[in-house]
Amino acid sequence: MTDPTPILRTSGLRKSFGMVKAVKGLDLEVPRGSVFGLLGPNGSGKSTTLSMLLGILAPDGGEFAWFGEAGSPAVRRRIGAMLEQPNFYPYLSARRNLRVACQIKGVDYGRIDEVLEQVYLLPRADSAFQTFSTGMKQRLAIASALLADPEVLVLDEPTNGLDPQGIAEVRNLITEIARQGKTIVLASHILDEVEKVCTHVAVIKQGVMLAQGPVAGILTDQHQIELQASDPDALAAVLPAYADHAGLTRDGQILLLAVSGEPDPAGLNRFCFENGIALTQLKVRKKSLEESFLEITGKH
């Protein structure tokens, strides 16, 4: 049986810097095993949020729990994280830098070669960090995050400042890690990146959550219809028979029906009623990825 406790849950998380309200009451829920994108333009509060979740900043209000527990050093040792930029001692080699991380996390030195291998840095294990390229530094940070074989990885703009090849390498790495069943929280301002690697997304702008859910539902290029009924299971059972049905995703009580062609809400309503289900909600969502992102971030 899978553990139903979400990897991360926040409620009403707030942080201000003087007059600037960076994060305004954020409610997040990161399901286990998801690749969760935190999507928003620069300055939207992504890094501030992650800093609070990782003990760097104290929230002004609200709560958060990793694995159902309040934040603490012991809880953070179960998370592998890279915030903003790779932070290492420039004069130490990759291996020696990872030794420091091993001791903090209580991990055997034997893991060092494994993670260096995983990020293709083993041949440079004994080179000083300051001799690394931006991409290599980024990969070393991912290696360090992987040391304790954590249940969840937190990566903040992991492809920032990389050349196209570096971006491809890091993205492949993330997809590979996700395939091993780890949960990944990925902050990014790049829509395309989130769409390519994430299963879930939360869209943030100016510290406010604009939308949250499966990527297919939020950043869809198909028209979608949001449906709710008193018995969602029964609703889910009849929908595949709907003529324009092109896919169905479920987010708690809400069903998202992708439709081919132009949406016909009246027809759908009639179809449901004829099948013995009275809808309690019916909302048409539309359009392409780019458009929905721009709309989500633009209308507020």
Partner: protein
């Protein structure tokens, strides 16, 4: 605690600036009580390298070298801020208390090791230098041994405080030198000259307390002059030892507070 020390050692042992500074410090520190024959103006006051005066002389000259330790403490602490590794340590799962405890333990162990060297080297040099070894005199002024430990802790905790406050190596070293040399003396002058009973405060200022030799430096009463007169300071006195301890606690406490409260 051992884990924290091991982490610290992994960070600093391969650091070249640390190795060079500690090596230079070690050589100079060990050479101090053996330097009599080679320093012209000291040659004539041979007894300062014999028991019991050697403890005072080693304490007094050792204080000048503790600048090197202050620079080491400032460098390794400010590095943590500029490399953003304090921040990364918290992300990786150290508590802020651990960040503080690791550095304080490192300073404590360093001060203990140097004090041990102080004792052993002092005993050997004192015995070798003695014209005629009188065992009863060996530990007569040994109160300078714990006094030296407290001096080292004082100088390093002041350096640690400034490093956490200013976070930039150059700036913190400059502030340290400024405070130790002119700044506190100016403050002392103002307190004593302009404030009624200012002396009560001025004699308890940190640098005065940490670098105290229990000698009146004013006029001609410099320590070498006193020694040539056959006067050997008896020790630091309980009040100075308590005040040194108090400043160690104050500077450490302020550093702890800054690490707890400020963004890393």
């Amino acid at each position: 605690m051992l884990r924290l020390l091991r982490i610290e050692w992994n960070k600093i042992a391969p650091y070249r600036a640390f190795r060079i500074l500690i090596l230079l410090y070690g050589i100079s520190f060990l050479a101090l009580p053996w330097s009599a024959e080679r320093i012209p103006f000291l040659r004539n006051i041979q007894q300062i390298f014999e028991f019991p005066a050697i403890w005072f002389f080693y304490y007094f000259s050792g204080m000048f070298l503790s600048f090197a330790l202050a620079i080491i403490v400032i460098t390794i602490t400010c590095n943590e801020y500029s490399y953003r590794t304090f921040r990364q340590h918290v992300i990786d799962g150290l508590g802020r208390n651990d960040l503080f405890a690791a550095k304080l333990t490192l300073m404590g162990i360093g001060a203990l090791a140097i004090t041990a060297l102080f004792t052993i080297n002092g005993l050997i040099a004192g015995s070798v230098n003695a014209f005629e070894l009188d065992r009863s005199q060996m530990f007569v002024r040994a109160g300078f041994i714990p006094g030296f430990f407290l001096h080292l802790m004082g100088a390093m905790s002041l350096a640690f405080f400034l490093a956490n406050l200013l976070r930039r190596t150059g700036l913190a070293i400059f502030a340290f030198l400024l405070w130790v040399f002119p700044l506190e003396l100016i403050l002392k002058g103002i307190l004593e000259g302009l404030v009624k009973d200012g002396g009560v405060v001025s004699s308890r200022l940190p640098v005065w307390v940490i670098y105290n030799t229990n000698i009146n430096f004013e006029g001609s009463e410099d320590p070498f002059h006193l020694l040539t007169q056959g006067f050997i300071p008896t020790g630091l006195g309980a009040e100075n030892m308590l005040l040194k301890t108090a400043w160690v606690l104050i500077f450490s406490g302020l550093s702890w507070w800054m690490i707890q409260r400020r963004d890393l």
